[in-house]
């Protein structure tokens, strides 16, 4: 076998290890999945009347608000899964087996790639669950098959980007609590963007941040793909740039942290 096939096999082995962890100990994932589902139900059924008054100039009803909020909740779901990644990476690094991996003739980054691939799969499963809940309460996307495909691609891109970043956060943290704190912005940021209310409704001084931070362009793009609203070149370009940039940054950061000499 060549070096490339060896590396591929190591990546798959590490992916299997991470999926096994997730299957044996699903509580972390379920816990993180609960937050977006509860927020979705809360915003639709409890705050729904007030929230819908904020869109379409106050003429929207509850079903229109569901259409508005589900794309934002979907991206928030990815943020939640990424927090889980940061926590499990930090926990994993305290395990003796990592030292064993470092003394074996395997592809070094396979440990990290295993975490990323495992989390992306978990993220897609979580997204399917949240989308299912959305449809159950009346979310009716009008996307064509091609738009569905693009939406899925977008969700994968965002997942990869946030999860690589989260792997770096996990490696940079001394323990699980630290990792959880460090990764918290990944779930808070959607609230500071267009997930629940349009950016136009925010105060002027804040609008600039809300518009350009990573989540809003991705939320607007997903909304456009699923609901047929206006995406705009700016949002499409910003989304791709953020995804690519964060993926590369996260990958580079994680790799250099992992290759650091183990502390003694």
């Amino acid at each position: 076998m060549s070096a490339a096939t060896h590396a591929l096999r190591d990546n798959l082995t590490m992916l299997r290890r991470n999926l096994l962890h997730a299957r044996r100990y699903p509580s972390l994932t379920l816990n993180l999945l609960l937050t977006p589902v509860i927020l979705l139900l809360l915003f639709v059924y409890v705050f729904g009347n007030v929230m819908s008054a904020g869109i379409n100039g106050g003429t929207a009803d509850r079903s229109e608000y569901i259409a508005y909020v589900v794309p934002g909740i979907l991206l928030m779901t990815i943020g939640g899964i990424a927090i889980g990644t940061a926590v499990s990476v930090a926990m994993d690094m305290t395990e003796g087996i990592i030292a064993r991996f470092r003394t074996m003739a395997i592809s070094r980054t396979s440990v990290l790639i295993g975490h990323v691939a495992g989390s992306v799969i978990q993220s897609l499963m979580a997204l399917a669950v949240v989308l299912g809940v959305g449809v159950a309460i009346g979310f009716r996307p009008d996307a064509t098959p091609l738009e569905w495909l693009a939406a899925a691609g977008l969700l994968v891109l965002v997942s990869v980007a946030l999860i690589w970043l989260a792997v770096g956060m996990g490696l940079a943290s001394p323990n699980a609590e630290g990792a959880s704190n460090l990764a918290q912005p990944l779930m808070i940021l959607p609230l500071l963007g267009s997930a629940f209310v349009p950016v136009d409704a925010m105060p002027g001084w804040f609008r600039w941040f809300a518009e350009y931070q990573p989540f809003s362009p991705a939320i607007e793009t997903l909304r456009g793909l699923l609901m047929g609203t206006e995406i705009g070149t700016k949002n499409a370009v910003l989304t791709l740039a953020w995804c690519l940039g964060l993926s590369l940054l996260g990958y580079w950061w994680s790799r250099s942290l992992f290759n650091r000499e183990p502390r003694q």
């Binding site: 060896h6 082995t13 962890h21 003796g96 030292a99 991996f101 003394t103 003739a105 183990p262 003694q264």
Partner: protein, 326 residues
Amino acid sequence: MTTTEHELAIVATGLRKSYGDKTVLDGIDIQVPAGTIFSLLGPNGAGKTTAVNILSTLISADGGQARIAGHDLTAEAQAVRAAIGVTGQFSAVDGLITGEENMLLMADLHHLSRSEGRRVTAELLERFDLTEAAKKPASTYSGGMKRRLDIAMTLVGNPRIIFLDEPTTGLDPRSRHTMWQIIRELVSGGTTVFLTTQYLEEADELADRIAVLNGGKLVAQGSAEELKRLVSGGHVRLRFSDPVAYEQAATALRETTRDDETLTLQIPSGGSQRELRAILDWLDAAGVEADELSVHTPDLDDVFFALTGSPVPAQSTQTTAKETVR
């Protein structure tokens, strides 16, 4: 030296490592012929784990060179890794998955075929008496079982050289003897074993060659017999229950080593009838009576004492905080 007849599995020259201004390894030279057991003996904090970490490619040395299985440690790290197996001081098992899954994980990382991986896993689990616990999560294993699983995982790739960092620390006496048996079997199969220990008895029991590490320096190297020859002879130990008698004896006798806590005196002696009689005569002359008199032939404890000028501090300390690696 026998090194010309044997291939050298491990050759290290002038290994140095320091953290900040603390020198952990101060230029150590090691040669281990293939197929033998080498023991690095020393108290906690002597630098044993650092030496293993460097030789197993986990950390890099600040100075010096080493060749493992003929490969340069820094230039050909992956080739070194392919030849070695490491069982660190802290269990390197994945606690979240079962013992069997841990073994299959190793088989996959060694790129064994599925059937080969299953065969090796079943064989090693059987050999290390873990078949019954194979389907249980490794985190539920006892200390001895974890250590056995750890070594079983190390053996999956059939490594030619195995590093064992304090393999019996924290094990009960029975598990310790099982571990010794395992280590002997490894070497009879042609594997080279590099073992660190803080137990003199263990080095004596297992190792072909012993190097004594103290404060980052090798203070002696040789077979257990050679090391024992470094000290001239044994000693006679006198124990008192009466502090006054103890004081009297301590003043009356020359060349004694005092242990005020246990009221024990140590007098260098070869243990011959004449020497013993001389000690008894001194005691009679001083009018003191010892509660207990025992004769000790030299053991590695004495060697350690002779080499470092201090008793082995690690013998009774199992709770001392150790370095962790991440």
